[in-house]
């Protein structure tokens, strides 16, 4: 019996190799765009959202006739949030699949590892939402669609002082480069505007589920605003635990909160929470409204920031290809760099800086009746212009 099973194992392994043929989407003349995001592992939720956003964009492009008369094909892979996989994927996309451009729907680690390869082979790549500052420094073929941490942090500082008139601020910081750059931005803006001080500041590790010890300590300092930088899981816990503690305080968050999951998990504790982000649900622009509507219709879920960013990243590439009137990667790059005042699902892109960071207004949303709604917008160039 054991022998049979052993043999079966060997056979199945060998068969696995033969069976698993790479699917050849051999459409002559199709425009291939590369995409990678984590589809398995702990980051699978974001990876799936990103992929959905990208796929939706490609479908819409093809429905309206494709690009330059050709169909667009999304070549996507799962990077499991591993840098080594991202590197292999990047090489594969560039040398085997021969994509003309790529989008990273993944976190900072894999994006950062893949960027130099795209740069080396001169294939333009847009980082949809990964925030690490070094990513765009890989070279002039690497762009970023999302906000830099410092930019968004400054926007948060703006909201705190100008909109919410806070004087004593408690600051919770995610203990990673994203969180620290946000905190830096917040403090920068507070210093610039003056009139408020940070009475409590504490960093916490990602994955933390129980914030009660931190919140208790923060509360003891009697702040009038709680700026809690977080991703949506932690954000939901923070909001719930603040409520559970019976603490009535305004919570200010950022795009990490921007997901229907936050609303779902926090329940009514989310009511009144304000965030800076890039997706304005009340944006009258048809592009935004259509995106929200179509995403919901296609996937039966409300879109989140990650999905919206990936959708826009693909759309930006499409616009660049149209503007360059070519699928030559170098021309696409130049066209991308020169884009101005483009209306996207996530608001208006004024332009890309020389360092290929976006200059875009920051949206401010508030949770009302269990939904995100418009609260304000920050377009002050002092705040939204990236440092490079």
């Amino acid at each position: 019996m054991k022998k049979v099973v052993a043999l079966a194992l060997v056979v199945s392994l060998v068969a696995g190799f033969g069976w698993a043929k790479p699917r050849k989407a051999n459409l002559k003349g199709a425009i291939k765009i590369g995409f990678f995001s984590p589809l398995t592992g702990f980051a699978a939720a974001d990876g799936l959202s990103a992929l959905r956003g990208a796929k939706l964009a490609v479908e819409e492009i093809n429905k309206s006739g494709g690009l330059l008369g050709k169909k667009v094909v999304l070549v996507n892979y799962d990077d499991r949030v591993k840098s080594s996989e991202a590197v292999a994927i990047a090489r594969k996309l560039v040398t085997k699949d021969r994509v003309v451009a790529a989008v990273s729907g993944s976190y900072s680690g894999p994006t950062r590892a893949a960027a130099p390869i795209f740069q080396q082979f001169k294939i333009p790549m847009i980082s949809a939402y990964a925030v690490h500052p070094e990513i765009t420094k890989a070279g002039n073929y690497i762009f970023r669609n999302g906000f830099l941490g410092t930019v968004e942090g400054k926007a948060m500082g703006e909201v705190a002082l100008k909109f919410l008139r806070a004087k004593r601020i408690a600051l919770l910081v995610i203990d990673n480069d994203y969180g620290h750059s946000l905190a830096e931005g917040v403090k920068m803006r507070i210093r610039q505007l003056g009139g408020a001080k940070i009475v409590y500041e504490k960093a916490y590790s990602i994955g933390e589920k129980d914030f009660t010890p931190l919140l208790t300590a923060a509360k003891a300092q009697k702040p009038d605003l709680l700026i809690a930088t977080a991703y949506y899981n932690e954000a939901a816990q923070i909001a719930r635990q603040v409520k559970q503690m019976g603490w009535r305080i305004q919570i200010l968050g950022e795009e990490g909160y921007d997901s229907p999951k936050f609303l779902e998990l926090a329940g009514d504790a989310a009511e009144g929470v304000i965030i800076t982000t890039n997706l304005n649900r009340d944006d009258l622009s048809s592009i935004t409204q259509n995106f929200i509507k179509n995403f919901k219709a296609r996937y039966n879920e409300d879109p989140d920031m990650v999905g919206a960013s990936s959708y826009d990243a693909i759309m930006l590439l499409a616009k660049a290809i149209k503007k360059a009137h070519s699928t030559n990667p170098a021309r696409i790059r130049d066209a991308l760099q020169s884009l101005q005042n483009e209306v996207l699902a996530t608001g208006v892109l004024y332009r890309f800086t020389q360092g290929r960071e976006v200059v875009k207004p920051v949206q401010v949303q508030i949770v009302k009746n269990g939904e995100f709604h418009y609260y304000g917008i920050i377009a002050d160039p002092d705040v939204v212009t990236p440092p490079w």
């Binding site: 099973v5 052993a6 696995g16 190799f17 398995t40 090489r91 040398t95 950062r112 203990d175």
Partner: protein, 288 residues
């Protein structure tokens, strides 16, 4: 071509890793579930030496091997006091602690990791991908030879004695402590080699690359291939490196298939595919 070369390089590095763990687990019989830590130490030492001291890959590599070997000796010391299950847990703990150090201590770059690690170059000319692949292949062969030499030498004899029966070994005059530490030193040194190669290939490393799942993957390589054998280490490394690539079309089910294979192998074929006790190997031998 480029892509295939990348895969070949990964296979080579993983083979060296598998061979290195084999010394500790296969030859000396010490359960080590934290081997990724030594891999990481090798990678980080090489990366930091190259970036902070500005030396070339050719200096960083041997330095990394030496550093990892020394750390391996130090971290191997706890293994003297504990055995079996405690050892397993200790090594898991070591993995996490080392990873945490990389992640939270500023010197190691913290969460941003180490970047700008130089690709190897000779005489001012940056290696081509093919050259790197050839170099990796050479190192892989050397590692296999080293492993084989260890196994067939007096060291191997001592390790085997410790593995089979510690009590009997020590009563026969074998210095069990010395051999246990030796196993860790040799195993880590090779892991350090693999780590250095990895760092200079990726040009950018973070703590996340060296976690517990990787330790399990390396262990799986030698167990599936056939523990305690050089050929088993190679086969295991080959299979487990190629699998994620080959199974990409199945991408959603990849990890599940991998996990189920692990279970099935442990349940039905724990000797590994071509280990000494394996039915498959015996059949092949029988026929030969």
């Amino acid at each position: 071509m480029n892509y295939y070369l990348t895969i070949l390089i990964y296979i080579g590095i993983n083979s060296i890793l598998a061979l290195s763990l084999n010394i500790i687990v296969g030859y000396a019989g010490q359960i080590s579930l934290g081997h990724a830590a030594f891999y990481g130490i090798g990678a980080y030492s090489s990366a930091l030496i190259a970036t902070k001291l500005g030396v070339s890959f050719w200096v960083a590599l041997p330095s990394a091997i030496v550093i990892t070997a020394i750390v391996g000796a130090i971290l191997g010391l706890p293994s003297l006091r504990v055995s079996e299950d405690f050892l397993a847990i200790t090594t898991i703990g070591i993995n996490f602690v080392v990873q945490a150090v990389f992640k939270y201590v500023k010197f190691f770059g913290g969460a941003l990791g180490v970047s700008g690690i130089p690709f190897p170059s000779l005489g001012g000319h940056r290696f081509s991908l093919a050259a790197f692949a050839v170099m990796t292949a050479i190192f892989t062969v050397i590692s296999a030879l080293v492993a084989h030499l260890i196994n067939t030498s007096w060291i191997g004899l001592g390790l085997k004695a410790v593995r089979e029966d510690e009590l009997a070994a020590s009563s026969s005059g074998v210095n069990v402590y010395k051999f246990k530490v030796l196993a860790f030193v040799l195993g880590s040194a090779l892991a350090g080699l693999a780590g250095s190669l990895y760092a200079h290939f990726m040009m950018f490393i973070t703590a996340d690359d060296f976690g517990f799942p990787l330790s399990i993957a390396i262990l799986s390589m030698i167990v599936i291939g056939g523990i305690g054998t050089v050929r088993g280490a190679f086969l295991g490394a080959l299979l487990l490196t190629i699998m994620p690539e080959v199974f990409r079309p199945l991408s959603d089910y990849r990890m599940l298939v991998y996990a189920i294979l692990l279970i099935l192998f442990m349940r039905f074929l724990p000797e590994g595919l071509i280990g000494d006790e394996s039915i498959v190997w015996k059949k092949i031998r029988g026929k030969a």
